[in-house]
Subunit: 386 residues, 4 copies
């Protein structure tokens, strides 16, 4: 097997959620080795958190700036090769810029930044440095999402007409941020989360999935954002009409006040000759509808899925794979790309499949357009990265 | 058991679909007796159709006007008591007006008319005559829809925040109306269907269900209507944002080009302390979500459903009841009301539960508002019957 | 439409369950007219019950014997043509024999009798008189069960290897018969129910369905019957191994103590090249598995179902039909057969599809074999009608 | 975090399936470090396979005997602490015995051995040495299985009455072993698999799950085993009646010829006051039925699950965890136990939760009893480890 790629991490200390997910996903396929980290902006917490994960002292840093400087000074064969940024949103921008400036590839949690302008800064630097950038729109790592994309791309279902994308959660149906709940606190704080609440946290995933699977771009949207919980400064519900670049239409709705919903992400795509349905709670299944034949239940890892879909599975059909495995697929793809780049080796036969800077820009354009539209009473607003 | 109420029918001859549904629903509980009909505007077809259903010759009419006149002339104990109008939409208005003018109660298929103004004519006459009027928004007859309504009305889930209503069909994904398909032909013809295609045929059901279950009114909407099939003069897809009168928000989408969808009507209602999910393909189940307890699977006919819900069932739990039974519940309620009225007897202990002229007006207001909004690029448009 | 066939009914008065189901099913398609009845062995209850359903006094009888004699004396064009027997089990035998002796066709609720010997009496008389006999194994009326049968019969899935049939209920998990519950009382009373409890009430349906769909006979079985509720004289749970006549194997289990189960009847058939799955709660769906292709979701009333399956539906796909509609299909078939016989007209193009005397005999043979096996510690026991 | 436990592996080289699963599961939570391996009995394959997973040369062995000897000679702080045995079944016995003799803890894939006698050898040595032994009945690692066990153990549902356990696969519906399919080849070869085919490969999992969740023992069984595919020397289908030690009854059926089934493991437990349903394809859900309340949908990682269940999850509700995560829970528990033992530290607050030698013995007793019963025409046969 190819050598493990060396990763550093910024964020993800005690009390964080997504950092541990990144580490587990990175570890799952044994393609990545965590070699250093600045796990918290608080030095004591950073050290204690590093001890929690058996990180050696000499690669434990108490600030991301320190980490970048000192790692850059290490021999090439030893220093980290990419930085995983798993902080709250407001830190994505400064860390990503600094990492790129120090010559490190970047893998960032989503949304890419707080504003489209911040994301443009990163995009510019990515272009200038030629370094690699990945954004963990992790749901694109699901095997049946990859099959869905391949099926649409094959043209066998005809042109896409309508898309319905949903992401429903119920965990913020009450003012949880007013209790001692760290995740709720920063996600409802404009300083740390950015100007979108539900919008930036989950609607952006639904938007990304819609564009990923259909290969289309949302060109205009009309968004009705709501804050249902008193005193919350950010939206906790989003209802959005979509218009795509091939005259396809769509509906995207997301919510954090949908009592009983856990992480109910789903996507339906209706095309001229067929249609697709996928829901995260049954992630290993894709329903495929046909004009003149019965609906098919396509299952992950079976011979009836595309090569890229099967390559995203590890075990036989019926043994469920889930969120961590999908997340790991993003890491596996990015690790392969980083390794190929750093080793000047040939890239993998199949182009690596991870969301990059374009997805990052489009995500921020979506968020900004939705905010603008909602401020204008759901007026149609273009979604453009330019 | 109380005596059977005598029904006459206009429309529903050979080649029709909904007429037979009405007759079966009327017959199911043995509360209604079909005594006469004008089954077709074509005299030969009217007679042949009457023979198909063993209707006696002397009560078989070849025009609705003839039927109304001659039935009105019969002794009170013999003549029909109400007219069921099951024609294409364009005939609802003249037949309903004429029936009311001749002193007959009216049960009409939906949408009530082609325009809100036409519906106002009927409403005015209903008010003037004091006669009864029912509109077969039949999906309100489902037991679990009735339980849903009762649960929301009880207040135990708190105020409604968000509603998601869907009605997806795929049967018009191709230009079926260009073949010899009678149902497709009139439903895509503005003359007979009215100005709404998908909108009037199915979106109006989703709208009605949302208002019925929540007890709220849609006050404004923003509608993006589309015609996907070339040459079709009416919309075949509708994506609509909703705003209700308690600050609740909503999404309603309907489609006739959703390949693989049959009659996929569904409703989700998210309130402060709980939420509801109902889908027609699993009509005997209602999912009830709670803030602090596991989701419950409520099943029709069980002790865990409301009195009104149980009254709408006929058989023990687990033996599925379906569309015809729900339809029959509308008939049973209307028959009880007609009987009480005509017999000067006390109305049933529980108020009869069928959609009336208010639902008819609101349905037409919804359709017109959606058409107006869509013409104005999905601008917010009030939904008002005034 | 062909004329309505005239039905008389024995049993089904106030407090009964299945009588009303029979009447509704008979009425649904308007092929049958209830002209007379002996609704209860108690004369007062018989009269009151008749008034409940608007039966005329002169056709209301207070004993089945009286009914048979007086109806037989009526003119042929007026008297009932068949008797529906909807009493508790112990009355099936005497009423069926008497009805046949008086020249009436018979439709009986299941199980046919209390013992195989009693059933043989009926079979003998059916043969001697040439009269028609139907047994309401009503689940065979489901459209997707008929498609399943046709699919197996077509041979396209190859030979059947394994069958799993289940019928789970939970309503008798407590000693409900010790309360004032009429249905529980007679179903747990050997005098009225026969020697099988759960076995005769529901396991026999699962057995019938397995044989109906596969076209095979259970040749041997090994049954482990249990009574879980203290003081109950009949079994309330049955676990049975099956061996069929083509070397197929099977498992059949039924229960009345399966808490949470309503009427969870299901059937799975595994053949050489494919398999079928059907469950009553989702009765309009049949899953079809294939060796080398994705599983298909077959839906009732679609073009992808067999002619006989489509003929058993009344409304478009996605509008659920249920238990009463399936039951009505048995009535429709039997009515067609009775009409053809009595009118000396040609039978319907497609042979009528209702369970007859053979199914009755096999059902009783199954029950007796299971009882024998269980008494012998689940020893293999032949299932034979001879 | 506590230090990683050092693991050696026997088996799991190129072409194997379960070895990679074990390695991934071991790696997932970062509690275990693979330090050495004898991946194949073929020296060249062993070396190539070790290179595949970046194992250092000096810890790559070409025979398990060599590995055990040389590792035993290493310093305590360096040598492996336990051996994971992931070979075909026939090697479990010799490797486990040799590992125990060399002082290593053992984690073995299932079934424990080919015969109960072989398993007794291991049990004896486990007792003599006091070393730890785990058997990867991995499905017990699912969070909702653990909640199910805790719920039954709590007594709130009352005594268990009936158990239905199923494991259906379709992959061996054709003679796949006659093609070049390594997994099919050894699993249908009595020399390598043992005397049970379907029985030892999957029925044993269903048996284990039934005993794990209910806390009961199967005391007697009646098994009807079948080989449907011509020329296959082992059973590929098993239908089994069960009797448990509290008078509970059960049905267990498993199949490798169930076309369309993937790894359809499911368990239903019916108790006096409630019931449970769990299915692997929806592994994060447990249905809980109640006598007098609606059925609840319990979901993994929610506050409504037991402490032990939540401890077996890593991510928020609605983000599915699957097979690898469940498998990893077994590894995490065993690693904790090994670490506590080897460090003389206190065991974890909660007793480690992994199947041990008792489960191993009971599994073999089940297999042998089923084989004996089937040879005796499904006669009742005791299941005893003595």
């Amino acid at each position: 097997m190819a050598r493990r790629v060396r990763m550093g991490m910024v964020g993800g200390g005690r009390g964080a959620f997504i950092g541990a997910v990144h580490r587990t996903a990175a570890r799952l396929d044994d393609h990545v080795q965590l070699v250093c980290a600045a796990l918290s902006a608080d030095p004591d917490r950073a050290k204690a958190s590093a001890a929690d994960i058996n990180l050696p002292d000499d690669r434990t840093y108490t600030s991301y700036k320190d980490m970048l400087q000192r790692e850059a000074a290490l021999p090439a064969a030893e220093r980290m090769e990419f930085v995983a940024i798993v902080t709250p949103n407001h830190m994505h921008h400064p860390v990503a810029l600094a990492a790129l400036e120090h010559g490190f590839h970047v893998l960032s949690d989503k949304p890419a930044t707080r504003t489209l302008d911040e994301c443009r800064d990163i995009a510019k630097l990515v272009e200038q440095t030629g370094l690699l950038y990945a954004l963990t729109h992790n749901y694109t790592g699901y095997p049946m999402i990859r099959h869905a994309r391949d099926l649409i791309a094959s043209g066998s279902l005809g042109a896409v007409r309508k898309v319905v994308a949903e992401y429903a959660q119920g965990w913020l149906a009450t003012p949880l941020e007013q209790t001692d709940h760290k995740q709720a606190a920063w996600r409802t704080d404009p300083e740390r989360a950015g100007a979108g609440g539900c919008l930036g946290d989950i609607a952006t995933h639904a938007h990304n999935l819609a564009e990923y699977v259909t290969g289309l771009d949302v060109q205009h949207l009309a968004a009705d954002l709501t804050t249902f919980v008193d005193g919350r400064p950010l939206d906790d519900d989003a209802n959005i009409l979509l218009r795509f670049n091939n005259n396809a239409k769509g509906v995207l709705h997301a919510s954090q006040i949908a009592v009983g919903a856990e992480n109910d992400l789903s996507l339906r795509v209706y095309a001229e000759k067929g249609a697709l349905e996928w829901r995260q709670p049954d992630a290993n299944t894709l329903l495929v509808h046909h004009l003149d034949a019965p609906t098919q239940i396509l299952r992950a890892a079976t011979a009836h899925t595309s090569d890229a879909s099967r390559a995203a599975t590890r075990i036989p059909p019926g043994h469920p794979e889930g969120y961590l495995e999908a997340f790991a697929n993003i890491y596996a793809a990015f690790a392969a790309a980083v390794r190929a780049r750093n080793d000047n080796s040939a890239p993998p036969a199949d182009a690596p499949d991870y969301p990059g800077i374009t997805a990052a820009l489009r995500g921020m354009a979506f968020i900004e357009a939705a905010l603008t539209s909602s401020k204008n009473n759901a007026a149609w607003t273009p979604v453009s990265v330019d």
